[in-house]
Amino acid sequence: MELISILLLVFPLLGFLTIGLFQKQMNRNLSGVLASSFIFLNLVAAAFLFGFVTASNQTLEVPLFDWIKFGDITIPFALTIDRLSALMLLIVNGVGLLIHLYSIGYMKEDEGVNRYFAYLNLFIFFMLTLILSSNYLMLFIGWEGVGLCSYLLIGFWFKDRANNDAAKKAFIMNRIGDLGFLIATFILFTTFKTLSISEIAAKASLMPSGDLTLMAITLCLFVGAVGKSAQIPLFTWLPDAMAGPTPVSALIHAATMVTAGIYLVARSSVMFVLSPVTMDVILVIGTVTALAGGLIAIYQNDIKKILAYSTVSQLGFMFMGLGLGSFSGAMFHLTTHAFFKALLFLAAGSVIHALSNEQDIRKMGGLRHKIPFTFALFLIGAIAISGIPPFAGFFSKEVILTAAFEHGLGMGLIATVISLLTTIYMFRLIFVVFFKPESKELQANHHVHESPKVMLYPMAVLAILSMIAGFVQPPKLFSETQGFDNYLSPVFAKSNSLVAASEHALAVQTEWMIFIFPLLIIALLIFLSYKRFVNNKELVSPTGIQSLFAHKLYVDEIYDFCILKPVTFISDIFRELLDQTVINGFVNAVGSGTLFVGKKIRLLQTGNVGVYLVLMVFSIIAILFFNIIL
């Protein structure tokens, strides 16, 4: 077992090194295959571990070696494999593998394909480090590592300035979060004298609920999560991150990396449940983000941007789940979301591919005939994400919705609205892209072609997953077997035990309400958007409140005004004024001052011997005076 879990890290690293070092020599087709095969091996290993931890309900601790060790501080490299990490392993490696395969087709023509796969493997390596790490500092390695990879991959086409800016933005915003994380580790170490996740959980569980230290820790951790998972106020990097290749957006910015925040909170669930303040903060942030993301998504015209904001919103939704204390629910949604959002991105990628890198949906239309498979797959994804039974999205959303209603009617309603927003922007997308009568330039453009199989099959697999994945945990209405909850229950047992079980389980009829009511609205919405978007050719330019969302709440502008400009200004002030004028000026002044004194004092030497004699006598008199008289 230990060996396997180590191999999990070794394979992708090996892939990275081999491909990275021999980019020049390596055949462009080989690299993709190589990378994918490494990930495939990983997937096998992951499955094996998954089986193991599921069967024998125990957590695997694999110590590698001591990383930092002196005095009273010992931070080892050690891996932990429990059910949570095993689940993540499956998702990352599974989706990862599929996207690797897809990329082989998608990146065929790109000259930097070797570099691309090297980065991709590196990303998997760091992601797994993040998942498997047994202490917070090692987790931080993965945390920053994936940030680095996302930086590299967003800026993959580095000739274009916009991409680099996007990459830079992503990295820096992540760094802001990372600082929170780092501070959290400081507090953790000072309070617990260790950074081992399990030990901390054990120690923390003994602390009283609402403890201030815990609050500080959890808040800092959450700041990190906000950065990584693109929550308000640090969400603007994610849409820009779409500058990277589409498979990257699918893997990193939809399925895996951005969910690291969720994973982190779930990992530290014990501390979080013990600080209700933080939980409320998470709930609020999550809700606002989910709402805002959904609304913004409706007014976007870039196919990838729409999906990006949908991701933002879905992540917000997961955080709501966490905030509501339904950790397994959040994880469940994370899982399903990984499937259908990856599917959607890949499908979008194939659309873009088909239209030779056209991303503006206003220039699309009527593609359902031209690229039927892609259309079908896209539709499946859309249905899944909109939460229409029996597809996966429905089930996972259901859990969170239930939790929301358990928390209170208002919360429940908001949650419902959010999940309904999904339908609007998804079906807007569907209708505009696939149904709307196609535009002139599109008719002119004849070589619109379906993607190669190597791209379609992975999507198909994802499609199947996003259809059936939900059934591991049907709503309480239909079955008492809560597969997913049961699977994760050992992980969250402690944290669940710490909070009083939710005061009132919902009455059956309310559950039916939650179940039926949205479906009707969804149907209605689909119909409306069909009317609206298919018939009128041009999308009306947004007005009033709409433009606010169209401009993603002007957050970027606000940052520019409140942070960028001042910092640059201060920097200039420091450089020009303080450093050159004041400090350096002072130093030089001292020098020239001495020079001046020298200049003056040598005038004492008048050159007139008479004066010398007089001065001599005066000083003699003075000396005698001071010595004899006094």
Partner: protein
């Protein structure tokens, strides 16, 4: 010899000291006041001689010849000094055509 010493000792020592100090001061003032190099030499001589007188007085009072021997040395030195001084004076005069010390102001600062 004895008689001279006794005669010297008839005047109390303080008088000698005061007198020599006065003489010395006159010399100093002369040096300061005059701008003519020649006069300055004389004033310096005055200073030296006051010292001589003082030494003799002391030695006479202490019956110790050392002081008076010293005086001879001083006289020799003084003579040499004057010789050199005058020589320099001539040289300087040749270049500046004056013996006013204020003319010496090429070297300064």
């Amino acid at each position: 010899m004895e008689t001279t010493i006794t005669q010297i000792q008839t005047i109390p020592l303080q008088y000698y000291i005061l007198f020599c100090s006065a003489l010395f001061s006159i010399g100093v003032i002369g040096v300061l006041a005059k701008r003519n190099a020649l006069v300055i030499f004389m004033s310096v001589e005055l200073m030296l001689n006051s010292a001589n007188l003082l030494l003799t007085a002391f030695s006479a009072y202490r019956n110790d010849p050392a002081g008076q021997i010293f005086v001879f040395f001083i006289m020799v030195v003084a003579a040499a000094e004057v010789a050199i001084g005058l020589a320099l004076l001539v040289v300087v005069y040749r270049s500046t055509h004056t013996i006013d010390i204020n003319a010496l102001n090429r070297l300064k600062w």
